[in-house]
Amino acid sequence: MTPPLKIENLTVRANRCTILSQVSLALRPGDFVGIIGPNGAGKTTLLRAVLGLCEATSGDVHLDGRALGRLSARERAALVAWLPQQALSSEALLVLELVVAARFRFRESHAESKTAAMRILEEVGAGSWSHRRLGELSGGERQRIAIAALLAQEAPLLLLDEPANHLDPRRQIEIYRLIGALRRSGKSIVCVTHDVNLLRHAVDPPGEDLRVVGMSAGRTLFDTALSHSGLHEKLTDLYRIPFHRVDTEAGSFLVPAPGPGEPAR
């Protein structure tokens, strides 16, 4: 099967500063890749490069076997959809209008767009908010609308940038469960996050697994399974602070904590 996303030796430079250096990554259909790494590691730039929002200095990006540079904006939108890190801020727009706008790539009537948008809002449990203004919704509700807009594009590959940003713990878990359900419905997913523990909530049943790719200073350092027993050691190297593995009844969690030789503050 053609990989939904294949990145080969991607390098991005801007203002003489190398943001990505020789990054390679390939997804199989239905793959879930969590990308973690410190601020400034190049995670967001990697997603933007896949969308053609920033230009690659060298290297190749293929979406569904087709070179990114040869796709029109509409063709690209049919293959990949993006949930940016910044929350939606068009306060005056109606929720339904916002989701309708995300269906730009379809050559369909406004009525058809509206029907599809309504169906998708119901799917993410936001059907009753369709005629409310974005400004009237809470952060968690807005993120649900952003995910509805993401799904409205009906692309097989989803790029998510910190999907649980600024949400309370319960909303964070809800969003990751929703993302897990999307993967099981057949989407391929790349998800940038700081919190590797949140990725667990996207895994259900627990036997299921996902890939964790660690990035630092524009390079990929590791590509391993979330269930890998030595992941906390890799995180220690990645963030340069000690990580410990804490096993609980609900599963094992990786927590940063000062270790021996690290002064407690």
Binding site: L51, G52, L53, S72, A73, R74, R76, A77, A78, V80, A81, W82, P84, Q86, L88, S89, S90, A92, L93, L94, E97, L98, V100, A101, A102, F104, R105, H110, A149, Q153
Partner: protein, 314 residues
């Protein structure tokens, strides 16, 4: 909201039909002439020009995602004024193929300045607010050159150019309407076909690109076609202040931010607004015409302030 819309449209259409009858009595031998040859073309042109300025303003505000974007702020009006001043000084009232050189030169000035801004926008390197700032800078530069030229000229040309820059609908005939109409049709057709792109762009430009909008193309097209429309409008009536900036906001505050409402209603209400201002301009001071550009600002600004204070209370 939805219930109110048909009534407002009906009211607008009713006002437009009634507007040529407003004013001194049409009885007597000159009545027919005044109605058919003076007032009707004036109402037609006022509607087309007001509609175009306001429609282009609405599209620019969406395009730049900025409430201050309008033909007057990105340099179109200043470019047109510069063109008109240059023609008034060096060519006076000459005509080329039946069209006044002042209008042709104003048209060229409007298009040139907007094309400069459009070139910046489509290069793709500049950020949206930088494009807008560049437009303001170009606008100020064009105004400075116009003022410099006026300063060096004689009093008569100075008076003419100041009068021109206040905006006027008085010296209109069907010929002017015929020249402006194709540009208005172009703007309306192109902008209406871009409504889906405007909807995506109104959320944010990067999201729109990821959703399949060719943002560079839409920007260049909107700026290019918009400058033709505004250029033609300004060439016919002078730079009319406030319509392009304020009417889209009035529509947004009264009917919501949806592009599907904003784009068509900006045209209709902008057109009706300028006709209303022109009725005031020609009837309020009996026997004496008042420049319509002063009336648009005089009526538009208080209406805007009232709507903002109401929106704040909601």
């Amino acid at each position: 909201m939805t219930m109110r819309r048909p009534w407002i449209l009906l009211f607008v259409v009713g006002f437009l039909v009634a507007s040529p009858f407003i004013g001194p009595s049409l009885d007597g031998t000159r009545g027919d002439f005044v109605f058919w040859s003076l007032r009707l073309p004036r109402v037609l042109l006022g509607f087309l020009v007001g509609g175009t300025l306001s429609l282009v303003g609405a599209a620019f505000q969406t395009l730049f995602n900025n409430p201050l974007a309008a033909p007057s702020t990105i340099g179109t009006s200043a470019g047109a004024t510069l063109g008109a001043v240059v023609a008034l000084i060096w060519a006076g009232s000459d005509t080329v193929v039946g069209l006044p050189l002042v209008s042709l030169s104003a048209f060229a000035g409007a298009c040139l300045v907007t094309l400069l801004v459009a070139a910046l926008a489509s290069s793709g390197r500049a950020q949206v607010h930088q494009i807008l700032l560049a437009g303001i800078a170009i606008s100020l530069a064009a105004s400075a050159i116009s003022s410099g030229l006026r300063y060096t000229t004689d009093l008569n040309t100075l008076a003419q150019s100041v009068l021109w820059s206040l905006g006027h609908l008085a010296t209109i005939n069907y010929g002017t309407v015929g020249v402006v109409l194709p540009f208005v049709v172009l703007v309306v057709v192109v902008f209406f076909t871009q409504i889906r792109a405007f909807e995506a762009l109104s959320v944010d430009a990067d999201r729109a690109r990821s959703q399949g909008v060719d943002v560079r193309f839409v920007r260049a097209l909107t700026l290019g076609v918009g400058s033709l429309g505004v250029g033609a409008s300004v060439a016919a009536c002078g730079p009319i202040a406030f319509v392009g900036l304020i009417v889209p906001h009035i529509v947004r505050l009264a009917f919501g931010a949806s592009q599907r409402i904003l784009i068509p209603l900006s045209f209709v209400i902008g057109g009706a607004f300028l006709v209303l201002c022109d009725v005031v301009a020609r009837t309020a001071f009996s026997g004496r015409e008042f420049p319509v550009g002063i009336v648009t600002a005089g009526l538009g600004a208080p209406a805007m302030i009232w709507l903002i204070s109401r929106a704040g209370r909601r």
